[in-house]
Each structure stands twice: as structure tokens, then as C-alpha cells.
Assembly symmetry: C2
Homo-oligomer: 199 residues x 2
């Protein structure tokens, strides 16, 4: 059964999202035109509107999809028994997941200001629930005395900010393996939240 001439809905949609993600990450949402996205996909600008009502929806869809993937991947992991092991798992998961999707990560925190207020609230909610999964670990550790953090909320944001930094300098052909990078960051995070003088 031959497909209608010129019809490629099954591949054009994903290709639009991939192309837009790459271009938004590289040049910024506001600096990338619908014409340019269409051009790199290989269609005319008007054709994009078969897949989304407007440019804002394209951005929101990319960010929402990324945050949902992040939360789902996180939810799928087995929860280690000890707080320390849970924290190590978070650190390694976070670094690995974020290095696998650098464009989506970049967009999801650089383009927040280009979301409508309604869309912004949705993305912030998803981000907040991811942060909460780390804060819960730190709070449990602080309560049990296994960890010592001056302020649970700030420690959460500090750890995430530190880990996010990897994306700014990592290169596939760099001198360190992914395992080495995870180990280095885990060492720093672990020491930062352990009580003074602990192993």
C-alpha cells in the first residue's frame, strides 16, 4: 500500500523535534526561526504547523518531554538500602543521564524565560519534584546523623548545581572516562555532606 506522495508524518515529526532541540541548544530559542528549523529538516516552514500549533508549543513540548523522561528514568531505579548508597546512586545517575542528553538539558534550564507563565509553572513543577527526590535523601541522612548538612534545601541545590556543571566542560574525547568523572564528583559530594571527620 503506497503512501500518499509527499507524506512523511511518521518521520518528519521526530526530525522536527531533534532539529529544533539541536538548534535551540546551540543558538537559543529566540534566535532560531521556524524557517531555519524547516530548512534543516528539509521541508517548508508552513509544513511545521502540521505538527504543532505554534513555536511556543514546540519549545514547551521539548522541555516537558525531557523532564518527564528524567523523572521516569529516576523512578525506575532500585532504591539502595542505605542513605549513603542512595546519595551515590543519585550522583551517578544524574551525571550519566545529563551527559547523555546535553541539548535537552541545556534548553531546559536556559529557555525557562521564554516559556509562557502557564508553561513555566508546569516545567518548574517537574523540576521541583526531581529536586525533592534528592532533598529527601539528604533530609533522611541528616535526621539519622549519617549526614551533616547545614541546610537541607540549600545543600540540595548546591549538589545539583555542582553536578550540572559537568555538562559545561565534558567532551566525548576528553581525558577522563565517564566512570572517572562520576567517581571524582561522588568523592566531592560525599565529603561535602558527611559529618566532619567521617570516612
Amino acid at each position: 500500500m503506497a503512501r500518499t506522495t509527499g507524506s512523511h508524518s511518521d518521520i518528519t515529526g521526530p526530525r522536527i523535534r531533534e532539529t529544533a532541540s539541536r538548534l535551540f541548544a546551540r543558538h537559543g530559542f529566540a534566535a532560531v526561526s521556524m524557517r531555519r528549523i524547516a530548512g534543516e529538516v528539509g521541508v517548508q516552514a508552513g509544513a511545521l504547523y502540521n505538527y504543532m500549533p505554534d513555536k511556543q508549543s514546540l519549545l514547551f513540548g521539548l522541555m516537558q518531554g525531557h523532564m518527564q523522561e528524567l523523572l521516569q528514568a529516576r523512578a525506575k531505579r532500585d532504591v539502595p538500602e542505605t542513605v549513603i548508597a542512595q546519595l551515590e546512586d543519585f550522583v551517578r545517575f544524574h551525571i550519566r543521564f545529563h551527559l547523555e542528553k546535553p541539548d535537552a538539558v541545556f534548553i531546559s534550564y536556559m529557555e525557562l524565560r521564554n516559556l509562557t507563565p502557564e508553561n513555566f509553572a508546569v516545567i518548574e513543577g517537574l523540576r521541583r519534584s526531581y529536586e525533592d527526590s534528592l532533598e529527601t535523601i539528604l533530609r533522611n541522612g541528616a535526621t539519622s546523623g549519617e549526614l551533616k548538612v547545614p541546610d537541607t534545601k540549600i545543600a540540595t541545590l548546591a549538589v545539583i548545581a555542582m553536578l550540572n556543571g559537568v555538562n559545561t566542560w565534558y567532551r566525548d574525547d576528553g581525558r577522563l572516562t565517564l566512570d572517572e568523572i562520576e567517581a571524582i564528583y561522588w568523592d566531592m559530594v560525599r565529603k561535602a555532606v558527611l559529618p566532619n571527620g567521617s570516612a
Copy 2:
């Protein structure tokens, strides 16, 4: 001696820079038009070109000015004797300086991709020399054994990324004072780079 009617070069220039800095930080360089900057300053768009050759120069000037201020403020500080004290001084200086100029900070790392390659190289050079001032402290500490960092370069970037995170959540009317915030971050940074089991 009356000034020429309509002439305000002494105040319009700074006002353009302040307004552009605020708008670029809030909405992004590409999303802010020269008309809008002019409108908020209170002049017509064409008048802006008495102060800069083009929009790119405006962005570059803001970023270069910010980085030079940062480096000069850093250079002015007395250097404490011990490595630990030098590190504490860096942490407190960094947090305080960056919280004082949130718009310029935001622009200087969010709008790098909107610089021409030549301008980008200049800003990156300035940023690099700031990072080097921290890396030198960490390397000296590692050599003497006062500190233990798995990788000097990565530790430098990790500490700066962690400290930069403050700007994403700090509010003037928040529950913590600037001194408390500095103390919390200094506690985490100190522990992260000390040898295991040190005070």
C-alpha cells in the same frame, strides 16, 4: 552655560547600559529589540547608535565590563596567608560579588553563544583567568597536603558551579542573611576539598 537642547550624553549612555543589562537578563539578548531598549530609556531607537556601532557591541561591552570588574575586585583583595584562608576568602568574595550583580552575571554566562567568535574568545579568556585564581589555590593546597582534590581542574569548575547556583535561588527578602549563606557554602566547599577526616 546652557547645554544644547536635547543633549544628554552624560546620562543616556549609562542608562542604555543599565536598561539593556536588565532586559537582556530578563528576556535574553535575541528577544530584546533596540526599539524596546530605547523605549525604556526614553529615546528613539536611532539615538542608541550614538553610543555604540551595533547591538553586538552593546552585549560585548556589558560582558567585558562585568568580567573586568570581577577581576579587578578580586585583584584588590589582600591575600590571606594560609591556603585554607585563601579558599575561604575566594568563596565569600565570589558569593558576595555575584549576588551584587545578578543581571551582569546572568548575561555573562547565558549569552556567550550570541557573541561573535572574536568577542567570545575575549570573554572566555577573562573567565579563564578568574578560574585560574581559584585553581592556583587548590593546587597549592593539594601540593602541600592541606587539601585533597581528586582533580584540580574539575574541582575548580565544581566549586564555581556550586557557588554560581546561589544566584538562581537567592532573594533579598529570603530567610537567610548573606553571612549565613556564605557560611553554609563555605562549610560545604571546605569539607569537599579537605582530606578525609580533617577538621
